[in-house]
Subunit: 326 residues, 2 copies
């Protein structure tokens, strides 16, 4: 099934079920008023939401209305934990090669970053940032939304607790990122509000494209209407289950935890393109000695979308414009 | 006023008002069922809670009962954002000197770390961790709980949005910390669940001891009943307002955001002691060439308490035992 959260002037919005083709929606509040409620009461709520989803797809759901992604918040507009991985090693390798970075990785241990989760941004809302000098960037990613996971759970158990899949734009400010990365304590000014695609979907919606704890679909990114890249999620070096197990080593993960994949990046990035500016700039630097693709300009419009084999949008599009905050 | 959250088999617990002497409590659900509700509706709820607090202190609150800190959760048992600072530079300087660390700081920019906030631990509950080989440690800290703060707010505005003060034990696993610090992406296995003192208090409760956006009181730490240290909060190199302003540079901070001070550390640490094992071990290494104080052993009991000038406990005590998780 597919779920979204619409604006209603509350912090958590209101939950709706969205039809498979993203054309229609119907209020879900009889079963779960908010996404947080749904994820905390999944065993009870999911079958009811699924039945409503089937009625909506069949055209028999009363109260159905046109789904308008511009009225959507992030599917979970705020949550109690958001962790982002950097699980496509290809991306890190390109960055390290271009900028002579020395990230002291340990074999077998993934990179995970604890992130802010109090104020996610709407997928079609103008995104404010203070100055172009911050070298604004985007990162197209996949994410999972999980139920409660007990401390010490295995990767398989963690995988079984994945309830929903999402897309996200991990907005990044590169000027601050390089400084903060060198300091060692993770990201603060480098990573302001994150933006999730309008529709969260259960893994079964992907069919064979959800396999091995990875999303085997292209992340299609465009900038100002121009193709930017369409790397595929299948090359993740860790599965979502493996990443969750590392995170749960010595703590419980509570329902509503979101784990991101890191920017989607493929070995053949020179042909399929990238899902972030920094990677494209790094490839330019490696190949030609300098970077020509500019960081975000005020007024830039970014679009992130994932299509299934039939060309149908799976999660709806993040489609937003970057604007001055002051 | 003083507020606490008692266990009631829900994720958020139930809010109670606690008397100034921490002896009595009374249910606050008529005005705010949970701490999260109180902080999101502060303008309406605070005057009502304050009036109830005054009745409780006067002995005229109906339904008052003995306050039992062992039944308390962290005052906000989970929240949407927890950021921890390292705002006592003295601590970092000792660590860098002892271990030849090179933290690439930028003058004027504080160290802040985005942290997990989905599963805080109760102040008197046994604290499970997998193995003594993780080199478990504690960090006694102060924290603020804030109302909504808009992107770009000044330090003064941020200070005015501080609603409650708390104490915390920032439980740290040093084996993972040194590895993760070198990697650059902040803390994952190094920082499992955080533990907050049982009672959150409004700044006015501290009188002159809340000054310049700092808590001018000693953090009294004992290990297995033995004095460990009592450094004072006044030596913070940034005020809480300044730290919040740095965090809010390019994002909104939403109600319920918690900001920690970092481990309390004083210039005269050799006489007043430390609030964490790693700092004491670092001083031993600097002064004598090696460290003799052991990291946490299973069965160790830690206590963190803050007394006012009259010797009254302000926040109640974190008083907990470390136990095997498996």
């Amino acid at each position: 099934m597919k779920l979204a959260t619409l604006k209603n002037h509350t912090r958590d919005g209101r939950l709706v079920v969205v039809s498979r083709d993203l054309a229609q929606a119907v209020d879900a509040s009889a079963f779960a008023p908010t996404m947080q409620f749904a994820i905390e009461h999944w065993a009870q709520a999911a079958p009811q939401l699924q039945a409503l989803y089937e009625r909506l797809n069949a055209g028999s759901a009363s109260g159905a209305f046109d789904f308008d992604a511009t009225q959507a918040l992030s599917p979970l507009p705020r949550t109690h934990q958001f962790v982002d991985a950097s699980a496509f090693l290809n991306h890190g390798n390109i960055m390290e090669q271009a900028y002579q970075l020395t990230v002291k990785k340990t074999a077998g241990i993934p990179i995970l970053v604890q992130r802010q989760s109090d104020d996610f941004w709407g997928p079609c809302d103008d995104y404010p940032f203070p100055t172009e000098a911050d070298n604004g960037d985007f990162e197209g990613e996949f994410a999972v939304l999980v139920d409660d996971i007990a401390m010490g759970s295995s990767a398989d158990v963690c995988t079984s607790r994945i309830r929903l899949l999402m897309t996200l734009n991990d907005v990044s400010m590169r000027t601050h990122l390089f400084r903060e990365l060198q300091m060692g304590f993770g990201f603060i000014n480098a990573k302001p509000a994150t933006v999730f695609g309008p529709v969260a979907v259960t893994p079964d919606e992907l069919g064979d494209a959800w396999s091995g704890g990875r999303v085997h679909l292209d992340m299609r990114v465009s900038r100002n209407g121009q193709w930017f890249g369409h790397p595929n999620g299948r090359e993740m070096d860790w599965s979502f289950g493996e990443l969750l197990a590392h995170l749960a080593y010595n703590r419980n993960l509570r329902a509503g935890t979101i784990l991101g994949s890191g920017t989607v990046s493929n070995q053949d990035a020179r042909s399929v393109g990238s899902a972030c500016l920094a990677e494209k700039r790094a490839l330019e630097k490696i190949d030609r000695g300098d970077s020509s693709t500019p960081f975000l300009k005020f007024g830039d419009r970014l679009r992130f979308e994932v299509l299934d084999a039939a060309g149908q949008s799976v999660f709806g599009a993040i489609d937003h414009r970057f604007v001055p905050s002051r």
